[in-house]
């Protein structure tokens, strides 16, 4: 049995990370992809900024959503942009979504022992024009998905997406293919619900709809409290 004893004063080290909140979500359809994020940047109990979207446009066919520590999100997207430029200049073509995903995995693993505190989700169109979603963990493990939620409210969103898009835990329901309009409506609805219960999610929702025409952005207001 452990002895009960008073441990005395505790030393607190400087932490190189901060948690800035935010939720990202990506959905892949037959010929489109959606990357959505809320726009609230928080720290501790305060709000730094109400208009800081977490979706970053990489190419005409790829958008990345990054949430976690905002400092690392900014640096990581800067590095990805630089690498995209280098690839374009050496190979005379733009990187495809799959290639960006593979590259990001190596960038993240390069910092395996001092990770980028970022939860990434890439959404875009693959070479065949079909929607693609790639989800990552902070050290580079990734997989291709149909839909994925990441960030602070991910645990609230993912089960609903599993049910509505993946038709999980339902019997006798027709598996209708997801249309653009239905997907955007679903994304708006799930973020409205997430903003009710997650304190880090709110202020506004930025939706990036990626089709072969390009990337179309829209912003919808969310709860501000």
């Amino acid at each position: 049995m452990k002895e009960y004893h008073y441990t005395g004063p505790v030393e607190h080290r400087f932490s190189p990370y901060a948690f800035n909140g935010g939720t990202v979500l990506a959905v892949a359809g037959e010929d489109f992809a959606i990357v959505a994020s809320d726009t609230r940047l928080s720290e501790g109990y305060s709000i730094h900024c109400r208009d800081s979207p977490k979706c970053y446009r990489l190419t005409d066919t790829t958008v990345i959503g990054c949430s976690g520590f905002h400092g690392d999100c900014l640096t990581l997207t800067k590095i990805i942009d630089a690498r995209l430029k280098m690839y374009k200049h050496s190979n005379n073509k733009m990187m495809t979504s799959g290639a960006i995903a593979a590259m990001l995995s190596t960038i993240l693993y390069g910092r395996r022992f001092f990770p980028y505190y970022v939860y990434n989700i890439i959404g875009g169109l693959d070479e065949e024009g079909k929607g693609a979603v790639y989800s990552f963990d902070p050290v580079g493990s990734y997989q291709r998905d149909t839909y994925k939620a990441g960030g602070s409210a991910s645990a609230m969103l993912q089960p609903l997406l599993d049910n509505q898009i993946g038709f999980k835990n339902m019997e006798g329901v027709q598996h209708v293919p997801l249309t653009k309009e239905k997907a955007v409506q679903l994304v708006k609805d799930v973020f409205i619900s997430a903003a009710e219960r997650d304190v880090y999610t709110g202020d506004a929702l930025r939706i990036c709809l990626i089709t072969k025409e390009g990337v179309d952005e829209q912003t919808i207001p969310l709860r501000k409290d």
Binding site: K2, Y4, H5, Y6, T7, S42, Y45, S46, I47, S152, Q164, N169, M170, E171, G172, V173, K182, Q185, L186, K188, D189, I192, S193, A195, E196, R197, D198, V199, Y200, G202, I220, P221, L222, R223, K224, D225
Partner: protein, 273 residues
């Protein structure tokens, strides 16, 4: 058998034990039980005819909203109300304890209880628990000495002031009150200032939210108004998320009939006085 020396004062063995348990649980990857906090914005001010108290309505479980519309303004007596911040259970039960004592006092003396008496009972309880009962309260009311407003801190200190704010959103609310408070304001102006103060906390503090509740206490009594201002309303969800019967698979079904045999029947009429 060894005779243990009787030590005076409060026995803190349990708090040390809790601290050790918390660290040993964390070693094995379990999260320690976190009590629900109200993570609040509460504020009060004295105006021309009495006291106005205000509070937000959000309760959080860590950083998730547990209750979107809870009541943080508690009735202590018909002319004394208290707002609680900190651990929700502590705030509520402290208020209920002194409310019971207020009622007993009224019955014994035939008078309304003094605000200072309720505040003193609160601080003496909180001091006895040396801050382990982790709630901050604002106590406001009207008694024979006029309108009074006190803020009480978890370790047992209290301050009598013309306007106070407490909770995690206190800084935001205090900013508004420091700018716009004037002594002897009219009811409408005072209500607007207090609502705006609590609203500032709701918008700027992550763990405060929901709507603004106010309680106006005057010589004649108290008027508790829930939801006078809604900082934010839920957005309109356009999708239909209803499920047809049969969507959830029924794996097995078993029915047990409960047999009821009438054993004895008797009828008693009550006299209506």
């Amino acid at each position: 058998m060894m005779q243990q020396q009787e030590a005076g004062g409060f026995n803190f063995e349990n708090s040390r034990r809790n601290a050790v348990l918390e660290s040993s649980l964390a070693e094995n990857g379990f999260k320690y039980l976190n009590p629900r906090k109200t993570g609040t914005t509460i504020a009060g001010l004295i105006y021309k005819d009495g006291v106005i108290l205000g509070a937000d309505t959000r309760t959080t479980d860590d950083m998730m909203v547990a209750d979107k519309n809870c009541e943080k303004i508690h009735c202590i007596s018909p002319t004394i109300y208290g707002c609680g911040a900190g651990v929700a259970a502590d705030a509520l039960l402290c208020s209920q304890m002194i409310a019971a004592s207020a009622q007993l006092h009224s019955l014994n003396t035939g008078r309304r209880p003094p605000v200072a008496m309720m505040t003193r009972q609160l601080k003496q309880t909180l001091f006895r628990y040396q801050g382990q009962v982790s709630c901050s309260l604002i106590v406001g009311g009207v008694d024979d000495s006029g309108p009074q407003l006190y803020s009480v801190y978890p370790h047992g200190s209290s301050y009598r002031l013309p306007y106070v704010t407490m909770g995690s959103g206190a800084a935001a609310a205090a900013a508004v009150l420091e700018d716009r408070f004037k002594p002897y304001m009219e009811l409408q102006d005072a209500l607007q200032v207090l609502q705006d103060a609590v609203l500032a906390g709701i918008l700027c503090d992550l763990v405060s939210g929901g709507s603004v509740d106010v309680c106006v206490i005057t010589e004649t009594g108290a008027d508790l108004r829930r939801g006078v201002e809604r900082a934010a309303v839920r957005g309109n969800r356009t999708g239909d998320y209803r499920y047809k019967r049969g969507t959830t698979v029924v794996l097995t079904k078993s029915t047990t009939n409960l047999r009821h045999d009438l054993v004895h029947e008797s009828v008693q009429t009550t006299d209506q006085d």
